[in-house]
Symmetry: C2
Subunit: 252 residues, 2 copies
């Protein structure tokens, strides 16, 4: 059975933030991530659109899911896909409720992204958090939405394990009043000289402007990745800087 015009229109509408917010869901694509998603109990799948071959191979995984399943042609998948090269299957997922434990925030390192705009950077940072076992990635409400298909794609499935939540940095004064807040800035204390924190929020600034002036006041420690004396670049990519600080503090 072919997809109706309205069904196609509905999935395509979820390419846009406005409609993802309206319907409180988002799109996940590709064989590997969708299989991981089906194995996870934390996500509720609303609809699954897959090519016949894929459905035949994964019928068993699907039997446990309450998703509405659609068999689609490659042409139909192309019409609803967010990818240049669609990869067999697309699902619509309910946005999960953010459940956090204040104890966990107070006993681990988490990230806070202050207006990260590039979806590739955002997804890569979620992947870094996952590798180093950081449970939470918080972000300013001005950041790109984490449900953006490019963020989901760049996270390589890590959004399944790391919880992402938009919140103002100022709110941490009530969420976790004694939590150290360490910000990556130019001209702060050199990273190797900052004692490894057991818990804290690591703040990463915007790709061009860094941490916003209004958020600098909340930092309890300003940290800098030292540039080599002969080095020339003006800054490091935001995801690379995140990786370096997570490796410094996240490796046992």
């Amino acid at each position: 059975m072919a997809l109706s015009k309205n069904e196609i229109k509905y999935v395509k509408s979820l390419h846009l933030k406005k409609f993802r917010q309206k319907y409180n869901n988002f799109i996940v694509e590709g064989d590997k991530i969708v299989r991981e998603l089906l194995a996870s109990s934390d996500f509720q799948i609303e609809g699954l659109y897959a090519e016949e071959n894929w459905l035949a191979t994964h019928a068993a995984d699907l039997s446990l899911s309450s998703a509405q399943v659609y068999a689609v042609s490659p042409t139909e998948l192309e019409r609803i896909s967010t990818l240049k090269t669609p990869n067999q299957v697309l699902v619509i997922v309910r946005q999960p409720t953010f459940r956090f434990s204040p104890d966990k925030i107070n006993s681990s390192l988490s990230l806070y992204l202050d207006e990260i705009r590039d979806p590739g950077n955002f997804g890569t940072i979620i992947r870094i958090a996952d590798w180093f076992g950081f449970p939470y990635v918080f972000c300013s409400p001005t950041s790109t939405a984490w449900t953006n298909p490019k963020v989901i794609q760049a996270s390589m499935g890590s959004f399944l394990r790391v919880q992402v939540h938009p919140v103002e940095l100022s709110d941490f004064s009530s969420i976790a009043p004694s939590l150290p807040i360490l910000g990556m800035v130019l001209g702060g204390k050199p990273l190797p000289q900052v004692p490894k924190p057991n818990a804290g929020l690591v703040v990463i600034g915007n790709e061009s402007r860094g941490i916003s002036a209004s958020n600098l006041q909340y930092l309890t420690q300003q940290v800098t990745i030292p540039r080599h004396p002969q080095g020339g670049a003006e800054s490091l990519n935001a995801a690379v800087a995140t990786g370096i600080i997570c490796a410094q503090w996240g490796i046992e």
Copy 2:
């Protein structure tokens, strides 16, 4: 004077690797990078295409250059640009000759990219090398060409200071026979346990497949960035892994 059809066709041909190779040049775009380029003596500019306003402001910088200068309309710039949003000026640059010093290779850390395919990763890695003062980024001939406009863009001007050169890894047995060759793999020695090398080649593998089987034999040390015991991601992004290893070994 409007650009002729042939002039437009010529610049557009350089969007493709084939023609960049044929004419031995490449495209650099945007106000900031072009200003840096004009200030550098290592690059020869063949043609400069800029909007009137930009030309009026930068006439003094241009007087020292032997470039052919074209005043173009925003519409013309859009036609020849590689960017979605062109930024005032585009230049065509001669490919520089790679000049290396064996002494410098033998006394510093350099990178070797084994089939890096993503231009964003490639450019970000050149930027990392620049930040940490690595003089050379070598790459396999199978890697994306470093003159790809997206590599140039992602390097944020760092290609002006770091020399990039395609060469087989096997050639280092004659270029620098005693140079340590350290490769990032899964299941190698944990990074914190590897003594910081004073000189060496750090090999970064392909985004999906890692270091190729045929190149593994040249590694004198296999290195791994340890994943947290509770971590879930299967791997780190190639540029992020590069940043972590450069920070570990490149900070004084």
